[in-house]
């Protein structure tokens, strides 16, 4: 075999004064970095294999380990960065498409960080959420244009709605892309905190059925696991058209990951590749989408909201408008920083637009067309903290979806190796031994803690603005000011510049 020309990206440092040869690192590393060497009678490391996942660092009982960037350096070159070289070396070796996990990590502008929130001073008193109630309950679904009353009640029943105790849901993550324990953790946290989780396109495993009443079930281009029972088990149905990390691209769960459980849940043969086609083969127009929406509503006796998830692409506003007109009760718009279990690197890093801009554009468009009340707007793709959430709501979102943040809560250290199925944190894997690394008791507790913490912070920020219900902030772009943004960006976002 010819010499590989790649160089290690990371270096593992083991402090021999602290290493006790317990080999916990050896057992924790799934990439074969650490090994016990019989001749040296010591633990040794193969830096080249390290993905910088921190599992060993966190588990080492004596703090003997650290991982740093490899000390060697490429000749500095503003054009040819080290990553560019590494990628060429790898492709020259393999001849394959570069795959990657998690979301776009390129240094594109993060608009959240260029938006500032307002606060009350003197003329409008702020509210202390510890003393006064601040309402963050959120309802998702179609709102009627007008209410017709008769005999002290509504003439027609309200369309079905989802009731969220906090305007944050967990994004779609299928069993297969993530471990069952990961799904269980998020499902339990969603139930505990009164919000929703999303089973993704992988069907519903029997173990998560107890949490199905808080699940949004997906219908994607592969139609995995879809049946009438499945549709009716969930709280809402979501048609997945696209995903922010890989717009225009389908899904591919390699056959190795399709074990017993995955095969049964997805209703596909054991060991077969689970391929979600790039398009839905029955959707070539808004009219086709309307048909599917209607069929799903029929299948669920119009008792469940049916939504559509699309990736934030250039003409997102028009597509959103069409989807709402096709009957979607809610829209999920996934920005280009959205995470994934596996995506082609070039697509992930170069396709789509930021969620902030997409959200502003969609919200404005639906308002202009007078159909904003026909569907709720959920955004995802790079929501990192409660400030991002509240800014999204001020920009016009009804709620947000989080995936990456939820996985980080479960232990993910963003090594981006999800596609390899060897996730050391037991998250992006279906390996039975690795799956156990997420204990659903702990996972549920941590994910619920995150939701609660963000809820507290959201209430604090709302109170600071003198707002006692999140409803009053929704689409209120006056609560935002831009900083370091161009005139054009400010216009698209619909916000004034700081100081204005």
């Amino acid at each position: 075999m010819a010499l590989s020309m790649r160089v290690p990206s990371y270096q593992v440092h083991r402090n021999p004064q602290r290493c006790i040869d317990c080999q916990v690192c050896v057992r924790q590393c799934t990439y074969g970095v650490h090994a016990w060497d019989e001749d040296f009678q010591a633990v040794v490391a193969d830096d080249a294999k390290c993905v910088n996942c921190h599992r060993c660092v966190v588990f080492c009982p004596t703090g003997a380990l650290a991982v740093t960037p490899a000390p060697h350096t490429f000749v500095p070159n503003a054009n040819w960065r080290s990553d560019d070289l590494r990628e060429v070396y790898l492709q020259a070796e393999t001849g394959g498409t570069l795959l990657v996990g998690m979301g776009n990590d390129r240094p594109y502008k993060i608009f959240w960080d260029h938006l500032l929130l307002n606060a009350s001073q003197v003329t409008n008193p702020s509210i202390d959420p510890l003393r006064e109630p601040v309402e963050v309950k959120t309802l998702l679904g179609r709102k009627p244009d007008a209410l017709h009353l008769s005999g002290g009640g509504l003439q027609e029943p309200l369309p079905p709605e989802l009731e969220l105790e906090v305007p944050i849901m967990f994004s779609a993550m299928s069993f297969g892309s993530v471990s069952l324990n990961t799904q269980k953790s998020l499902a339990r946290a969603a139930v505990e905190e009164g919000t929703y989780w999303n089973c993704g396109e992988g069907g519903l495993h029997p173990d998560v059925l107890p949490y199905a009443h808080r699940a949004i079930v997906q219908v994607a281009s592969g139609r995995f696991g879809v049946s009438v029972d499945y549709l009716n088990a969930g709280a809402a149905v979501e048609i997945k058209i696209g995903q922010g990390a890989k717009p225009g691209i389908g899904g591919h769960l390699p056959g190795e990951k399709v074990g017993d459980e995955v095969s049964r849940t997805r209703m596909i043969p054991l060991g077969s590749d689970a391929i979600s086609p790039a398009p839905h083969h029955d959707i070539y127009s808004i009219e086709d989408l309307r048909q599917l929406i209607n069929s799903l509503k029929e299948a669920t006796q119009h008792r469940k909201p049916v939504g559509v998830k699309i990736a934030a692409v250039h003409n997102v506003a028009a597509i959103a408008s069409g989807s709402v007109r096709a009957g979607a009760d809610f829209l999920v718009i996934d920005g280009f920083r959205g995470g994934t279990g596996a995506a082609p690197l070039r697509i992930r890093d170069n396709v789509g637009i930021p969620i902030e801009l997409a959200l502003a554009a969609v919200d404005s468009r639906l308002r202009e067309e007078g159909i904003r009340n026909h569907a709720s707007l959920v955004v995802s793709g790079g929501i990192r903290n409660s400030a991002d959430v509240i800014k999204a709501i001020a920009l016009g979102a009804d709620a947000v979806n989080i995936a990456t943040a939820a996985l980080i809560a479960l232990g993910c250290h963003m090594c981006q190796m999800c596609y390899r199925g060897r996730c050391t944190w037991g998250i992006a894997t279906t390996d039975a031994a690795l799956t156990k690394r997420v204990n659903p008791d702990i996972g549920a507790r941590r994910a619920a803690n995150l939701l609660r913490a963000w809820k507290h912070e959201i209430k604090e920020m709302l109170g600071g603005m003198g707002i006692n219900a999140i409803e009053s902030l929704r689409g209120n772009r006056l609560a935002l000011r831009g900083i370091g943004l161009s005139e054009r960006e400010l216009r698209i976002l619909g916000v004034s510049a700081a100081g204005e």
Binding site: R18, I20, D21, C22, Q23, V24, R27, Q28, F59, P61, T62, G426, D431, A432, A433, T435, K436, R437, N439, D441, I442
Partner: protein
Amino acid sequence: MSSKRVVWNEEACIGCRLCQVHCVTAHSRFPGDVLKAFKLDPQRPVPRLVVEETGPLSFALSCRQCEEPECVKSCLTGALGIDRQTGTVKVEEARCIGCWTCVVACPYGAIRAGAGDHPVASKCDLCGETRSVPACVEFCPNEALRVEERGV
């Protein structure tokens, strides 16, 4: 009388063996300091629990504190007995001669040969009175171990 023991959840055990590291530490001359226990204790004890692993299955097994312990009945010297206060199976180390009859009697393989010049039988003592929670339970990173209380 009620008795306690450590029980495992094999769904959560990830086979990392940190329980063993902390068991050794808790029974060393430097309880509470992993580094010193491993670097400075010349008579570093052996772990009192066994981590078993095949394929995805793993669990950390320690003394079941049996109601009718084979080890106690088999002990050649009477060094093993059931503690009248706590109901747990206890080794009186001074009286143990290291014959390992108990090792050959325990159906769980939960008694091990100890370390040192005059090795004695080594088994889970629930960290005795020195800790409120056994070290393995406290330090299991995945909460796969817990203390179970049984009425006897």
